[in-house]
C-alpha cells in the first residue's frame, strides 16, 4: 500500500473519530447543562428532573425489580408488533401487487386509514380486546401496518422495466419473476419499511401502554404523571430514546449486511 493510500485511509478514520468525539461532547454538554440548570434552580427539578435524579430513579427501579420488567414488557410488545406489522405488510403488499384491480379499489381506503389518527380508535380497541397486551399490539399494528403496506407495495411496483423485460423474454414464470426479481429488488424498500416500522411501532406501543397497560415504559410514564413523580416520566423518556436508538442501529447493521452488494 502506498503512503498516499495509507494517508487517505487514515484521514477517513480520523474524520470518523472526530464525529464520534463531537457526538459524545454534545451529549455531555447537554447533560451537564441540564444538571447545572436544575441545581442552580434556573429550571424546575420537579418538572424537568435531572440526569442525577434519573440515575437514582433507575437504581431505585432496579432495586424494586421493576426496571427490567418495564423494559422487557415494552420490548416484547415492540417485537411482536414489529414482526406482525412487517409480515402482514409484506403479505398484503404482495396480494395487492398480484391483483392490480384490488390495489386500485383499495387505494383511497388505504390513504384514508393512513391519515386517520389511530389514537381515536383507542376506546374501541379497549372494548374489543380488553385491557391487556392485545390492545397494545393492535394499537401498534394499526399505526405501522398501513405505512408498511404502502412502502413495500411501492417497492414491488418500482422494478426496473428493462430487467422485467429481460425476465419476460427469458420466459420466466410469474413465480420466478416474483421470487428472483420483484422481492430481491425490493430489499432496499423493505429495509426502509423496517426503519419506518420500528419508530411507528414504538409510538404505537407507548400509546397502547398509555391506554391500558400495567407494565412497560409507557405505563412508567403515565404512572409518574399520576403520582406527580416526574423523575419516572423523564426516566421513561430517556429509556425510550435509548431503546429506539439501539433498535434503529440494529436495522442499520442488518441493512449493511443484506445490502452490501447493492
Amino acid at each position: 500500500m502506498s503512503a498516499e493510500q495509507k494517508k487517505f485511509l487514515k484521514d477517513i478514520k480520523i474524520k470518523k473519530v472526530k464525529v464520534i468525539i463531537a457526538q459524545i461532547l454534545l451529549l455531555s454538554i447537554f447533560l451537564l447543562l441540564w444538571e447545572f440548570l436544575v441545581n442552580k434552580g434556573i429550571i424546575s427539578a420537579f418538572i424537568y428532573s435531572s440526569p442525577s435524579r434519573i440515575i437514582k430513579t433507575i437504581i431505585e427501579l432496579i432495586k424494586n425489580h421493576n426496571f427490567f420488567i418495564h423494559i422487557y414488557v415494552t420490548l416484547k410488545e415492540v417485537f411482536i408488533s414489529f414482526v406482525l406489522g412487517i409480515s402482514l405488510g409484506f403479505i398484503i403488499a404482495l396480494i395487492l401487487f398480484e391483483f392490480k384491480f384490488l390495489a386500485k379499489v383499495l387505494d383511497p381506503f388505504l390513504t384514508m386509514l393512513n391519515s386517520l389518527p389511530k389514537v381515536a380508535l383507542g376506546p374501541l380497541i379497549i372494548i374489543i380486546c380488553g385491557a391487556n397486551i392485545k390492545s397494545v399490539i393492535l394499537m401498534a399494528l394499526l399505526i405501522n401496518l398501513i405505512v408498511n403496506i404502502i412502502t413495500i407495495y411501492n417497492g414491488f411496483t418500482g422494478v426496473d422495466e428493462y430487467i422485467l423485460k429481460l425476465f419476460k423474454s427469458l420466459g420466466a414464470s410469474k413465480w420466478q419473476i416474483l421470487t428472483k426479481l420483484v422481492i430481491p429488488s425490493s430489499y432496499q424498500t423493505i429495509i426502509t419499511s423496517f426503519k419506518l416500522c420500528i419508530s411507528l411501532t414504538l409510538i404505537g406501543v407507548i400509546m397502547g401502554e398509555f391506554l391500558v397497560s400495567k407494565e412497560g415504559i409507557g405505563y412508567l410514564i403515565v404512572y409518574g404523571k399520576q403520582v406527580f413523580n416526574l423523575n419516572y416520566v423523564m426516566t421513561g423518556i430517556i429509556l425510550l430514546s435509548i431503546i429506539s436508538y439501539i433498535l434503529y442501529r440494529l436495522i442499520i447493521i442488518l441493512e449493511n449486511k443484506l445490502l452490501k452488494h447493492l
Binding site: 423485460k165 423474454s169 427469458l170 420466478q176 428472483k180 429488488s185
Partner: protein, 249 residues
C-alpha cells in the same frame, strides 16, 4: 439460405388516453438464417416495438410472424440489466436457471465465454465493481449462454462510451459470425448498423413503414474495423442518411 423468420403485414396501434397512436404499418420482412440485420429509424418510430413483437413479448398486433415453434430467441437490451444482488457468474447463468437448463455442458460453455472475454477473475465479483463495458460483456455471456438461434439486440451498446462501444460491438460481431447466429440489431447509429450487418432496414417516422433496405456488401468481413475501412462504407452511409426522416423527428 432459408428464411428463419417472416414478418407479414405487421401493424401495431397503441391506445392511450390521448388517442390512438399508429406505431407500425404493414411491415413485411424476411430474415434468413445466419443473417445480420440492423434496423434504423427516427426515435420513437417503433423499432423496439417490432422486436417485442418478434420475440413474442407483445402479442397485440395485426399481421403474422412466421417462425419455427422451437426457435430459440434471446434478447439483449440497452441496459445490461444485471441484478446487483447476484455475483457476475450468477448473473451470467440467470437465463439458464430460469429456463431450467443449467446442464454441465451449458456451464462449460459459460466458463468458455468467461475465458474468451477475459472475465474469469471477476466471476465472484458484483456488478457494481465492473465497468460499463465489462457489465455489457456479462450481459452478452448471459445472452449467448442460451445458445439462441435468433439474437435480438435492442440498442445494446448505446449506454457505452465510444471505445467500449466499438470493442464490444466487435466482440458480438465476431461471435455471431463464427457461430452463424441470426441477429436483428436496433440502433440509432448508422455507422454501427453498416459495420455490423448484412442488410440495413430503414424505417420511416410513425406510422413506421420500411423506407428502404440497403444490402451491405464488404470484401473484408473479418471485423467491424475492417468493414469500416471499405471504400463503399461512405456510400452506404449517404444512402441510409438520405432515407432517414432525421429532420422530422
Amino acid at each position: 439460405m432459408s428464411n428463419l423468420l417472416e414478418l407479414e403485414d405487421i401493424t401495431k396501434d397503441y391506445h392511450t388516453k390521448l388517442g390512438e397512436v399508429k406505431a407500425i404499418k404493414n411491415i413485411n420482412l424476411n430474415i434468413k438464417k445466419g443473417e445480420i440485420i440492423s434496423i434504423v429509424g427516427p426515435s420513437g418510430c417503433g423499432k423496439s416495438t417490432l422486436l417485442s413483437i418478434i420475440s413474442g413479448l407483445d402479442n397485440d398486433y395485426k399481421g403474422k410472424v412466421k417462425k419455427n415453434k422451437d426457435l430459440k430467441i434471446a434478447y439483449m437490451l440497452q441496459s445490461d440489466a444485471l441484478l446487483p444482488w447476484l455475483t457476475i457468474y450468477d448473473n451470467a447463468i440467470l437465463g439458464l436457471k430460469i429456463k431450467k437448463n443449467l446442464t454441465e455442458e451449458a456451464q462449460k460453455y459459460v466458463d468458455y465465454l468467461f475465458d474468451f472475454y477475459k472475465l474469469s477473475e471477476f466471476k465472484e465479483s458484483y456488478p457494481k465493481n465492473l465497468s460499463g463495458g465489462m457489465k455489457q460483456r456479462v450481459a452478452l455471456i448471459r445472452t449467448l449462454s442460451l445458445k439462441p438461434d435468433l439474437l435480438l439486440l435492442d440498442e445494446p451498446f448505446s449506454a457505452l462510451d465510444q471505445q467500449s462501444r466499438l470493442l464490444i460491438s466487435d466482440d458480438v460481431y465476431k461471435i455471431v459470425k463464427s457461430e452463424h447466429k441470426t441477429v436483428i440489431l436496433i440502433t440509432h447509429n448508422i455507422e454501427e448498423a453498416i459495420s455490423f450487418s448484412d442488410r440495413v432496414v430503414v424505417l420511416s417516422k410513425r406510422p413506421s413503414i420500411i423506407k428502404n433496405i440497403v444490402n451491405i456488401d464488404f470484401k473484408n468481413q473479418e471485423s467491424i474495423y475492417e468493414r469500416r475501412k471499405d471504400t463503399n462504407y461512405h456510400k452506404y452511409f449517404d444512402l441510409i442518411w438520405k432515407d432517414l426522416d432525421i429532420n422530422e423527428c
